[in-house]
């Protein structure tokens, strides 16, 4: 039969099923293929909180959304166009993410009486049958039955193993629907199951079966094409945030000549950095899984004292445990990088959900006056650059430096026009091997950056002792002198402030240099803010966007930029953290926009707020005009 083909600019697909259904794999496979075919894209994995929640229940639903297009893609998509559900719980949990009129592809078998019961749906209220989905286009297929039939006689696999591969059938079908080829996934499966030919054959067979199913079954009459995006010329790869952060660290190691020592204690969503780095031993990376977060950061203090680049990563609760040691690192003035992959807080909070939870912790969370520089990544690929810059600051300014990421960008993916190593800046550690004063070594003698020299054990005659007790200027000897303490506190603060002389000035991401409204963001809200501002401007609204990467110290021109607008809007996925700091530092009446649901902003939420504020302003001006 003939099938029609429709061309689309962009599509958002959400795969949802039980955590055992392989939805994350299905999503990443579709993502990698879309990337290789040249689409711009953004992804959002939505993990269940429990690793092994009872099968078929709402708690066990795992989702993966990909937004891909031939146009610029900044977010995983506010709502999805297509919702693929493997069972009733997946539909129930995700229906609110689907656009009105959107497509539902449902696995019938997942809506049997047992699955309905597990999803807390009455037996006579099967949504596939009771008409409640009339607003959508619903397609059903009996995935379980078809896959079992496809592999029935000759696969050599048991029913359990066959059922476990059913996601490949779904993937094959979606590939057909969007005119994708199977090459990448076949290659992937071959690498993954090369040593298990039975399983490899079965998976490839199902992938093809899904594809052919679309071709032959009459219910599906339309296929869609999404052309490659017109992205800047260059060489691209697809990358996830934690992966990018890990590679950024290795790049900084190579550019500084310092081996990485990575001490860490597992925690969601930071663990993947440890997993990633543990594979890079041939890059001279040492990974050390410590007994707790305190030991993790203390181990990197030891390594940094020894002349290595100490790095640790954690999430909110673990960062809290590292607090005291960060203060020690600050006093020792040794280079260290502390990565916080933020998640919903407080306490254990929402481990698998995202939140810009820890800016204030990073800013103020230590005893005494202990300012640390902070660099924030704004997208998955940007984690590379943020990690690299955090290392550069730490090393060249002799200080612990924070890098902030979050669950959304850590696990999200996007295409990345990656740099060549030769184009990355060099990093120069301030090592010292000789006396720096007449006939002696002063460990706290400072250079023009106010940073101190780095003498590592093994260097003859530069033996010295450092610690957390207040020190005398230059000698580093213990000092309880009142004047000295105040002097040192100011000096250490000034040292961190001076980093502003070495970082780029703040730029506008989009919009006019002066105007009605500036939207100021940081971190992973970048894509949603960018899309919202683009849309509002296209409709004639005067709105600009600045996204702050260097949160401490701020770029020198930030205050000036803030003063160029009538209104400042600050969206944050928290209860308003950067907004407090900005108001405090620049005395500007910034307006917060907060979302604290463990979920990223949709661009619409930001767009709506922009319009609301600018409309109010228009009416106020209009009425003022009328009375004049």
């Amino acid at each position: 039969m003939t099938k029609t083909n429709e061309v689309l600019d962009s599509v958002a697909i959400r795969f949802a099923g039980d955590s055992g259904d392989g939805m994350q794999l299905t999503g990443t496979q579709f993502t990698d293929t879309a990337a290789i075919l040249g689409n711009d894209l953004s992804t959002f994995p939505d993990f269940p909180a429990e690793i092994r929640a009872p099968q078929g229940t709402l708690a066990g639903v795992s989702g993966f959304q990909i937004h891909f297009g031939s146009v610029e893609i900044n977010t995983p998509g506010d709502y999805c166009d297509v919702l693929v559900v493997m069972n009733a719980a997946a539909l129930k949990a995700n229906l609110r993410e689907l656009k009105e009129g959107g497509i539902i592809i449902a696995n019938i078998d997942g809506f049997d009486p047992k699955n309905l019961r597990l999803a807390n749906i009455a037996p006579d209220q099967n949504p596939l049958e009771n008409g409640s989905l009339s607003k959508y286009q619903v397609f059903t297929m009996d995935v379980t039955k078809i896959t079992r039939a496809a592999l029935a006689n000759d696969s050599g696999l048991g029913v359990k193993e066959i059922d476990r591969s059913k996601n490949m059938f779904v993937l094959g079908f979606i590939y057909w629907m969007y005119n994708r080829n199977l090459d990448h996934s076949i290659k992937f499966l071959t690498e993954k199951f090369g040593k298990k030919p039975d399983i490899l054959d079965a998976n490839i067979k199902l992938l093809k079966a899904g594809y052919n199913y679309g071709e032959t079954v009459e219910t599906f009459t339309t296929r869609f094409t999404v052309e490659p995006a017109k992205m800047a010329p260059g060489t691209y790869r697809n990358i996830m945030g934690n992966q990018a952060a890990a590679i950024g660290l290795v790049a900084a190691s190579e550019k500084s000549g310092l081996p990485i020592f990575y001490g860490s204690y597992p925690i969601t969503p930071a663990s993947d950095i440890l997993h990633e780095l543990s594979k890079y031993k041939h890059f001279g990376v040492r990974t050390y899984q410590a007994e707790d977060e305190i030991a993790a950061i203390c181990s990197i203090i030891g390594a940094s004292f020894g002349g290595h680049l100490g790095v640790t990563a954690s999430s909110g609760p673990g960062i809290a445990l590292k607090t005291e040691a960060m203060g020690l690192g600050f006093m020792l003035e040794l280079p260290m990088v502390v990565i916080d992959v933020q998640r919903g807080g407080p306490s254990t909070g929402l481990p698998t959900k995202t939140e810009q939870s820890d800016l204030l912790q990073a800013y103020y969370g230590r005893n005494g006056e202990a300012p640390l520089p902070i660099v924030a990544a704004c997208s998955p690929a940007d984690c590379f650059d943020a990690a690299f810059q955090a290392c550069k600051i730490a090393i060249e300014h002799m200080t612990p430096c924070f890098m902030l990421s979050d669950g959304f960008i850590a696990n999200g993916a996007e295409p990345w026009m990656f740099p060549k190593s030769e184009d990355l800046p060099k990093i120069t550690p301030p090592f010292i091997t000789e006396f720096n004063a007449d006939g002696k070594f002063l460990p706290y003698k400072r250079d023009e950056k106010l940073s101190r020299p780095w003498a590592v054990p093994g260097v003859k005659d530069l033996q010295h002792r450092i610690g957390g007790i207040e020190k005398q200027h230059e000698t580093g000897n213990i000092s309880y002198d009142p004047e000295n303490h105040e002097f040192m506190v100011k000096l250490r603060e000034e040292k961190v402030e001076r980093i502003a002389n070495y970082i780029p000035e703040q730029k506008l991401d989009s919009g006019n240099a002066k105007g009605k409204m500036l939207v100021v963001g940081w971190g992973s809200t970048y894509g949603a803010i960018r899309s919202a501002c683009t849309k509002a401007r296209a409709e004639g609204y005067d709105v600009s966007h600045a996204h702050i990467r260097y949160l401490r110290p701020f770029p020198k021109n930030l205050g000036e930029i803030l003063n160029n607008y009538d209104m400042i809007l600050m969206p944050e996925m928290n209860n308003g953290q950067l907004v407090k700091i900005i108001r405090d530092k620049y005395f500007v009446p910034a307006i917060p926009l907060n979302k604290i649901m463990g979920l990223p902003f949709t661009s619409h939420e930001i767009y709506d707020k922009i319009i609301e504020l600018l409309k109010v302003e228009e009416t106020v001006f209009a009425s003022n005009g009328a009375t004049k």
Partner: protein, 349 residues
């Protein structure tokens, strides 16, 4: 023996003496504190080891004892309370060639730092731990510590402590430590010899040092150091020698199955029947570590000093570097551009 000790023998490093290890910092312990003696013995022994002082690092936590690094003309770090073991682990893992010494107190190592303490022992980094046990919190002015005996009357326990104390050596054995020893501030020769042995052991050497805090817990260990009581209350362990103690070396320890009993040599017991000390015997080391009776107890066993246990087991840092080496051999030196590009790329023109 550590390879570093060879250097001096070859005459490559100029010979160091104790005063080369003295810093320009005034020593700030209370007059009469046991810490002085320990510092002196360390400054006596370290120059003999033939390790250039720039290759030596002393790392401490917080406490009176933890002031130690400031007085050693080596590299040093006065870290934070309880964490010296964790800091030293990271240093040793990244710089295995350094000689790393940890100085810690009973509170520092066993209370706030208890977790890192057991973990460094099981990982067996090649470092030396000097645990200054004064059975009190000195720096914070006299609260009971995790080694204070039950009933101890201190600033925070006016009616007597309710805590059952840790037995640091039994704890260390439980954590699979590979070198377990006890010595005391008032026996300079024994302390020196124990330090030498600790240094030559490859692995984590745990040396508990009974240290008198004359201000807040004076005399806690006098029973083991005073002339009148010492011989009866202490059992000096020597490798391959029978366990003998007493005023005139007239008492011995015999094992009845797993039960140690005191026998009198004067009353006809034979030295041949006595327990012969074997540093390699883990089972016996565990029994020895349990010679921990309160000396006020009737028929109590004497308190042993010396090397309880020594075992050769691979060190974490060596394993770590071996693993890195074998990955390097297998994969070749990593190429950054390949890592950045990953497995699959595409070009947009």
């Amino acid at each position: 023996m550590d390879s570093t000790t060879q250097v001096a023998a070859n005459g490559q490093a100029p010979k160091m003496v104790a005063k080369d290890l003295v810093t320009d910092q005034e020593v700030r312990w209370c007059p009469g504190c046991g810490d002085y003696s320990i510092l002196k013995q360390v400054q006596t022994v370290v120059p003999e080891l033939g390790i250039p002082r720039e290759n030596i690092v002393f790392i401490s936590g917080i406490g009176c004892s933890s002031r130690f690094p400031y007085y050693m003309e080596t590299y040093g770090m006065h870290s934070i309370h309880g964490r010296a073991t964790a800091v030293a682990s990271g240093l040793k893992a990244s710089r295995p060639e350094l000689s790393v010494w940890i100085v810690t107190g009973d509170g520092d190592a066993l209370s706030i730092g208890g977790n890192h303490f057991i973990h460094i022992l099981r990982r067996n980094f090649n470092v030396n731990i000097l645990l200054f046990n004064n059975e009190i919190y000195g720096l914070t002015k006299g609260q009971y510590s995790p080694t204070s005996p039950e009933g101890a009357v201190t600033k925070s326990t006016p009616n007597g402590s309710l805590d059952h104390p840790f037995n640091p050596l039994a704890l260390s054995l439980g954590a699979d430590g590979t070198f377990i020893a006890r010595t005391m501030d008032r026996d300079p020769k024994h302390l020196q010899e124990t330090l030498r042995r600790a240094n030559s052991h490859k692995g984590t050497s745990m040396v508990e040092i009974y240290q008198n805090c004359n201000v807040f817990n004076d005399g806690a260990f006098f029973i083991y150091t005073d002339k009148e009581t010492k011989k009866l209350e202490t059992l000096m362990l020597e490798s391959s020698k029978p366990l003998i103690f007493g005023e005139n070396a007239d008492k011995g320890i015999k094992l009845d199955g797993f039960k140690p009993t005191i026998v009198s040599l004067a009353d006809g017991a034979s030295a041949n029947d006595l327990w012969i000390h074997d540093e390699k015997d883990a089972v016996k080391a565990n029994i020895l570590a349990r010679f921990f009776d309160n000396p006020s107890k009737e028929n109590h066993l004497p308190r042993p000093f010396g090397i309880f246990y020594q075992e050769d087991r691979h060190c974490y840092e060596d394993q770590m570097n071996n693993q890195m080496g074998s990955v390097l051999t297998k994969k070749g030196k990593g190429k950054l551009d390949e890592l950045i590009a990953g497995k699959e790329v595409w070009v947009i023109n």
